[in-house]
Protein backbone atom coordinates (compact mmCIF):
# COMPACT_ATOMS: atom_id res chain seq x y z
CA UNK A 1 0.00 0.00 0.00
CA UNK A 2 2.80 2.43 0.87
CA UNK A 3 4.45 1.45 -2.41
CA UNK A 4 1.30 2.42 -4.28
CA UNK A 5 1.01 5.89 -2.72
CA UNK A 6 4.70 6.41 -3.32
CA UNK A 7 4.21 5.63 -7.00
CA UNK A 8 1.22 7.95 -7.21
CA UNK A 9 3.20 10.89 -5.88
CA UNK A 10 5.78 10.59 -8.60
CA UNK A 11 5.94 12.76 -11.65
CA UNK A 12 4.85 11.14 -14.91
CA UNK A 13 7.71 9.61 -16.77
CA UNK A 14 9.96 10.03 -13.77
CA UNK A 15 11.26 6.91 -12.06
CA UNK A 16 14.15 6.24 -9.70
CA UNK A 17 16.57 5.88 -12.58
CA UNK A 18 15.93 9.27 -14.15
CA UNK A 19 14.72 11.44 -11.28
CA UNK A 20 15.54 15.04 -12.22
CA UNK A 21 17.82 16.89 -9.85
CA UNK A 22 18.68 20.53 -9.30
CA UNK A 23 21.46 20.35 -11.87
CA UNK A 24 18.92 19.98 -14.69
CA UNK A 25 17.36 23.33 -13.74
CA UNK A 26 20.72 25.07 -13.37
CA UNK A 27 21.93 23.82 -16.77
CA UNK A 28 18.61 24.91 -18.29
CA UNK A 29 18.93 28.33 -16.62
CA UNK A 30 22.45 28.80 -18.01
CA UNK A 31 21.38 27.88 -21.56
CA UNK A 32 18.25 30.03 -21.35
CA UNK A 33 20.20 33.05 -20.06
CA UNK A 34 22.74 32.75 -22.88
CA UNK A 35 20.02 32.42 -25.54
CA UNK A 36 17.89 35.26 -24.12
CA UNK A 37 20.85 37.61 -23.85
CA UNK A 38 21.93 36.67 -27.39
CA UNK A 39 18.54 37.49 -28.88
CA UNK A 40 18.22 40.81 -27.02
CA UNK A 41 21.78 41.71 -28.02
CA UNK A 42 21.24 40.72 -31.66
CA UNK A 43 18.07 42.78 -31.96
CA UNK A 44 19.76 46.00 -30.82
CA UNK A 45 23.21 45.60 -32.35
CA UNK A 46 24.29 46.76 -35.79
CA UNK A 47 26.63 43.82 -36.27
CA UNK A 48 23.88 41.54 -37.60
CA UNK A 49 22.87 41.91 -41.24
CA UNK A 50 19.37 43.44 -41.04
CA UNK A 51 17.35 41.09 -43.30
CA UNK A 52 18.86 38.05 -41.55
CA UNK A 53 17.78 39.24 -38.10
CA UNK A 54 14.26 37.66 -38.06
CA UNK A 55 15.73 34.28 -38.97
CA UNK A 56 18.38 34.55 -36.25
CA UNK A 57 15.76 35.57 -33.65
CA UNK A 58 13.51 32.67 -34.71
CA UNK A 59 16.39 30.19 -34.38
CA UNK A 60 17.33 31.51 -30.94
CA UNK A 61 13.70 31.41 -29.76
CA UNK A 62 13.14 27.84 -30.99
CA UNK A 63 16.40 26.76 -29.37
CA UNK A 64 15.31 28.30 -26.08
CA UNK A 65 11.89 26.64 -26.27
CA UNK A 66 13.71 23.33 -26.77
CA UNK A 67 15.91 24.04 -23.74
CA UNK A 68 12.83 24.77 -21.62
CA UNK A 69 11.06 21.60 -22.82
CA UNK A 70 14.04 19.37 -22.04
CA UNK A 71 15.49 20.89 -18.86
CA UNK A 72 12.37 22.36 -17.20
CA UNK A 73 9.46 20.27 -18.46
CA UNK A 74 11.60 17.10 -18.78
CA UNK A 75 10.00 16.03 -22.05
CA UNK A 76 11.95 13.17 -23.57
CA UNK A 77 11.41 10.38 -26.06
CA UNK A 78 11.55 7.74 -23.30
CA UNK A 79 9.18 4.79 -23.86
CA UNK A 80 6.84 5.79 -20.99
CA UNK A 81 6.55 9.30 -22.45
CA UNK A 82 5.45 8.26 -25.94
CA UNK A 83 2.01 9.79 -25.47
CA UNK A 84 3.34 13.11 -24.16
CA UNK A 85 5.77 13.28 -27.05
CA UNK A 86 3.15 12.48 -29.69
CA UNK A 87 0.78 15.08 -28.22
CA UNK A 88 3.58 17.65 -28.31
CA UNK A 89 4.31 16.85 -31.96
CA UNK A 90 0.63 17.27 -32.83
CA UNK A 91 0.49 20.52 -30.85
CA UNK A 92 3.47 21.92 -32.77
CA UNK A 93 1.80 20.88 -36.02
CA UNK A 94 -1.44 22.69 -35.17
CA UNK A 95 0.39 25.81 -33.94
CA UNK A 96 2.40 25.95 -37.17
CA UNK A 97 -0.72 25.46 -39.25
CA UNK A 98 -2.58 28.29 -37.47
CA UNK A 99 0.27 30.82 -37.42
CA UNK A 100 1.80 30.27 -40.86
CA UNK A 101 -1.54 29.48 -42.49
CA UNK A 102 -3.06 32.76 -41.25
CA UNK A 103 -0.03 34.77 -42.33
CA UNK A 104 -0.01 33.16 -45.78
CA UNK A 105 -3.73 33.64 -46.36
CA UNK A 106 -3.75 37.23 -45.14
CA UNK A 107 -0.72 38.24 -47.18
CA UNK A 108 -2.29 36.68 -50.29
CA UNK A 109 -5.50 38.50 -49.52
CA UNK A 110 -3.69 41.83 -49.11
CA UNK A 111 -1.87 41.18 -52.35
CA UNK A 112 -5.02 40.33 -54.30
CA UNK A 113 -7.17 43.08 -52.81
CA UNK A 114 -7.93 46.08 -54.96
CA UNK A 115 -6.40 49.18 -53.40
CA UNK A 116 -8.59 52.14 -52.40
CA UNK A 117 -7.28 54.40 -55.20
CA UNK A 118 -8.03 51.84 -57.89
CA UNK A 119 -11.50 51.35 -56.40
CA UNK A 120 -12.16 55.10 -56.67
CA UNK A 121 -11.02 55.07 -60.29
CA UNK A 122 -13.36 52.22 -61.15
CA UNK A 123 -16.36 54.03 -59.69
CA UNK A 124 -15.85 57.03 -61.93
Amino acid sequence: MSDLSEAQGQAPGVNEHSRPDGRSYLIGLAFALVLTTASFWASSSDLIYGPALPVLLAVLAIAQMGVHLVFFLHISSAPDQTNNFLALAFGIFVVGLIVFGSMLIMSNLNHAMVSMDQLMDMQR
Binding site: A7, A11, P20, G22, L33, F40, P54, H68, P79, M103
Partner: protein, 212 residues
Amino acid sequence: MSQSHLTLVHNSDAAPHDLPLSERGPAPVSNVVGYGFWLFLLSDIIIFAALFAAYAVLSGSTADGPGGAQIFDKDHVFLETLFLLASSVTCGFGGLAVQRNDLRPSIFWLVATFFLGACFLVLEVSEFASLVTSGDGPTKSAFLSAFFILVGTHGLHVSVGMLWLVVMLAQILTLGFKPMVRRRLFCFSLFWHALDIVWIGVFTIVYLGAHQ
Protein backbone atom coordinates in the same frame (compact mmCIF):
# COMPACT_ATOMS: atom_id res chain seq x y z
CA MET B 1 -13.55 -14.61 -11.79
CA SER B 2 -11.16 -14.41 -8.86
CA GLN B 3 -8.47 -15.91 -11.03
CA SER B 4 -8.65 -13.13 -13.57
CA HIS B 5 -8.79 -10.54 -10.78
CA LEU B 6 -5.56 -11.92 -9.36
CA THR B 7 -3.74 -11.79 -12.66
CA LEU B 8 -4.88 -8.22 -13.16
CA VAL B 9 -3.56 -7.18 -9.75
CA HIS B 10 -0.35 -9.05 -10.40
CA ASN B 11 0.15 -7.28 -13.70
CA SER B 12 -0.39 -3.74 -12.44
CA ASP B 13 1.63 -4.30 -9.25
CA ALA B 14 4.74 -5.62 -10.88
CA ALA B 15 4.78 -3.21 -13.88
CA PRO B 16 7.73 -5.11 -15.32
CA HIS B 17 9.52 -3.38 -18.10
CA ASP B 18 10.04 -6.54 -20.13
CA LEU B 19 6.30 -6.74 -20.89
CA PRO B 20 5.07 -4.94 -24.01
CA LEU B 21 3.39 -1.61 -23.29
CA SER B 22 -0.06 -2.96 -24.17
CA GLU B 23 0.16 -5.73 -21.54
CA ARG B 24 1.41 -3.73 -18.56
CA GLY B 25 -2.08 -2.90 -17.31
CA PRO B 26 -3.37 0.55 -16.34
CA ALA B 27 -0.83 3.37 -16.07
CA PRO B 28 -0.16 4.90 -12.63
CA VAL B 29 -2.51 7.73 -11.64
CA SER B 30 0.30 10.28 -11.79
CA ASN B 31 1.05 9.36 -15.41
CA VAL B 32 -2.59 9.75 -16.39
CA VAL B 33 -2.94 13.09 -14.57
CA GLY B 34 0.27 14.41 -16.11
CA TYR B 35 -0.83 13.37 -19.59
CA GLY B 36 -4.27 14.95 -19.21
CA PHE B 37 -2.80 18.21 -17.96
CA TRP B 38 -0.23 18.17 -20.76
CA LEU B 39 -3.09 17.93 -23.27
CA PHE B 40 -4.76 20.94 -21.59
CA LEU B 41 -1.50 22.91 -21.82
CA LEU B 42 -1.11 22.10 -25.51
CA SER B 43 -4.64 23.31 -26.23
CA ASP B 44 -3.88 26.44 -24.20
CA ILE B 45 -0.81 26.98 -26.37
CA ILE B 46 -3.04 26.64 -29.45
CA ILE B 47 -5.11 29.57 -28.08
CA PHE B 48 -1.90 31.55 -27.91
CA ALA B 49 -1.06 30.44 -31.46
CA ALA B 50 -4.32 32.01 -32.67
CA LEU B 51 -3.46 35.25 -30.84
CA PHE B 52 0.07 35.19 -32.25
CA ALA B 53 -1.38 34.73 -35.74
CA ALA B 54 -3.70 37.71 -35.20
CA TYR B 55 -0.78 39.80 -33.97
CA ALA B 56 1.43 38.79 -36.91
CA VAL B 57 -1.32 39.75 -39.36
CA LEU B 58 -2.19 43.06 -37.65
CA SER B 59 1.22 44.25 -36.46
CA GLY B 60 1.57 46.58 -39.45
CA SER B 61 -1.92 48.11 -39.11
CA THR B 62 -0.99 51.04 -36.90
CA ALA B 63 -3.72 53.39 -38.26
CA ASP B 64 -1.36 56.40 -37.99
CA GLY B 65 -0.70 55.49 -34.35
CA PRO B 66 2.70 54.52 -32.99
CA GLY B 67 4.48 51.38 -34.23
CA GLY B 68 6.06 48.77 -32.00
CA ALA B 69 9.59 50.16 -32.17
CA GLN B 70 8.42 53.54 -30.86
CA ILE B 71 6.57 52.32 -27.76
CA PHE B 72 8.47 49.23 -26.57
CA ASP B 73 11.31 49.49 -24.07
CA LYS B 74 13.68 46.53 -24.53
CA ASP B 75 15.44 46.89 -21.16
CA HIS B 76 12.07 46.73 -19.44
CA VAL B 77 11.21 43.53 -21.36
CA PHE B 78 14.62 42.00 -20.63
CA LEU B 79 13.99 42.52 -16.90
CA GLU B 80 10.54 40.91 -17.22
CA THR B 81 12.12 37.95 -19.02
CA LEU B 82 14.72 37.51 -16.27
CA PHE B 83 12.02 37.53 -13.55
CA LEU B 84 9.97 34.90 -15.38
CA LEU B 85 13.03 32.73 -16.07
CA ALA B 86 14.13 32.91 -12.42
CA SER B 87 10.61 32.02 -11.29
CA SER B 88 10.67 28.95 -13.55
CA VAL B 89 13.87 27.76 -11.85
CA THR B 90 12.63 28.42 -8.30
CA CYS B 91 9.43 26.55 -9.24
CA GLY B 92 11.58 23.60 -10.34
CA PHE B 93 13.55 23.67 -7.08
CA GLY B 94 10.23 23.80 -5.20
CA GLY B 95 9.07 20.69 -7.06
CA LEU B 96 12.28 18.87 -6.12
CA ALA B 97 11.88 19.84 -2.47
CA VAL B 98 8.30 18.54 -2.56
CA GLN B 99 9.56 15.23 -3.97
CA ARG B 100 12.00 14.99 -1.04
CA ASN B 101 9.17 15.77 1.47
CA ASP B 102 11.13 18.81 2.69
CA LEU B 103 8.57 21.24 4.06
CA ARG B 104 10.65 24.37 4.67
CA PRO B 105 12.54 24.43 1.33
CA SER B 106 9.27 23.68 -0.49
CA ILE B 107 7.55 26.67 1.09
CA PHE B 108 10.63 28.86 0.56
CA TRP B 109 10.97 28.09 -3.18
CA LEU B 110 7.24 28.33 -3.86
CA VAL B 111 7.01 31.71 -2.09
CA ALA B 112 10.04 32.83 -4.12
CA THR B 113 8.20 31.72 -7.28
CA PHE B 114 5.18 33.75 -6.24
CA PHE B 115 7.33 36.81 -5.51
CA LEU B 116 9.14 36.65 -8.89
CA GLY B 117 5.83 36.14 -10.71
CA ALA B 118 4.48 39.22 -8.89
CA CYS B 119 7.53 41.26 -9.98
CA PHE B 120 6.89 40.22 -13.59
CA LEU B 121 3.23 41.17 -13.33
CA VAL B 122 3.98 44.57 -11.77
CA LEU B 123 6.35 45.40 -14.65
CA GLU B 124 3.78 44.32 -17.22
CA VAL B 125 0.94 46.27 -15.61
CA SER B 126 3.16 49.38 -15.39
CA GLU B 127 3.94 49.06 -19.12
CA PHE B 128 0.23 48.75 -19.94
CA ALA B 129 -0.64 51.67 -17.67
CA SER B 130 1.97 53.96 -19.22
CA LEU B 131 0.75 53.05 -22.73
CA VAL B 132 -2.89 53.72 -21.86
CA THR B 133 -2.16 57.02 -20.08
CA SER B 134 -0.12 58.28 -23.04
CA GLY B 135 -3.13 57.64 -25.29
CA ASP B 136 -1.90 54.42 -26.92
CA GLY B 137 -4.53 52.11 -25.46
CA PRO B 138 -6.04 49.07 -27.19
CA THR B 139 -8.58 51.26 -29.02
CA LYS B 140 -5.89 53.25 -30.85
CA SER B 141 -5.11 50.78 -33.67
CA ALA B 142 -5.52 47.16 -34.73
CA PHE B 143 -1.85 46.64 -33.87
CA LEU B 144 -2.36 47.83 -30.29
CA SER B 145 -5.57 45.77 -29.91
CA ALA B 146 -3.68 42.62 -30.95
CA PHE B 147 -0.76 43.56 -28.68
CA PHE B 148 -2.92 44.10 -25.59
CA ILE B 149 -4.89 40.90 -26.20
CA LEU B 150 -1.81 38.72 -26.74
CA VAL B 151 0.35 40.08 -23.91
CA GLY B 152 -2.68 40.57 -21.65
CA THR B 153 -3.76 36.93 -22.07
CA HIS B 154 -0.29 35.84 -21.04
CA GLY B 155 -0.42 38.17 -18.04
CA LEU B 156 -3.86 36.79 -17.13
CA HIS B 157 -2.40 33.28 -17.18
CA VAL B 158 0.41 34.40 -14.88
CA SER B 159 -2.13 35.92 -12.45
CA VAL B 160 -4.20 32.73 -12.47
CA GLY B 161 -1.00 30.75 -11.87
CA MET B 162 -0.18 32.94 -8.85
CA LEU B 163 -3.67 32.40 -7.44
CA TRP B 164 -3.20 28.65 -7.94
CA LEU B 165 0.17 28.87 -6.18
CA VAL B 166 -1.42 30.51 -3.11
CA VAL B 167 -4.02 27.73 -3.00
CA MET B 168 -1.26 25.11 -3.25
CA LEU B 169 0.70 26.73 -0.41
CA ALA B 170 -2.44 26.62 1.74
CA GLN B 171 -2.97 22.96 0.82
CA ILE B 172 0.62 22.04 1.71
CA LEU B 173 0.25 23.73 5.10
CA THR B 174 -3.14 22.15 5.89
CA LEU B 175 -3.03 18.76 4.11
CA GLY B 176 0.71 18.11 3.96
CA PHE B 177 2.36 16.23 1.09
CA LYS B 178 -0.54 13.93 0.23
CA PRO B 179 -0.33 12.25 -3.19
CA MET B 180 -3.26 14.43 -4.28
CA VAL B 181 -1.41 17.62 -3.29
CA ARG B 182 1.79 16.42 -4.98
CA ARG B 183 -0.08 15.78 -8.22
CA ARG B 184 -1.61 19.25 -8.14
CA LEU B 185 1.78 20.82 -7.48
CA PHE B 186 3.20 18.85 -10.38
CA CYS B 187 0.46 20.18 -12.67
CA PHE B 188 1.16 23.69 -11.38
CA SER B 189 4.84 23.43 -12.26
CA LEU B 190 3.95 22.19 -15.77
CA PHE B 191 1.63 25.20 -16.13
CA TRP B 192 4.29 27.65 -14.92
CA HIS B 193 7.00 26.28 -17.22
CA ALA B 194 4.58 26.33 -20.20
CA LEU B 195 3.88 30.04 -19.51
CA ASP B 196 7.61 30.69 -19.69
CA ILE B 197 7.72 28.99 -23.10
CA VAL B 198 4.86 31.18 -24.34
CA TRP B 199 6.75 34.25 -23.06
CA ILE B 200 9.74 33.31 -25.28
CA GLY B 201 7.40 33.61 -28.26
CA VAL B 202 6.02 36.92 -26.93
CA PHE B 203 9.34 38.66 -26.42
CA THR B 204 10.77 37.38 -29.70
CA ILE B 205 7.81 38.16 -31.96
CA VAL B 206 6.26 41.17 -30.23
CA TYR B 207 9.14 43.05 -28.63
CA LEU B 208 12.28 42.07 -30.60
CA GLY B 209 10.54 41.62 -33.95
CA ALA B 210 8.79 45.01 -33.68
CA HIS B 211 8.48 46.99 -36.91
CA GLN B 212 11.14 49.66 -37.11
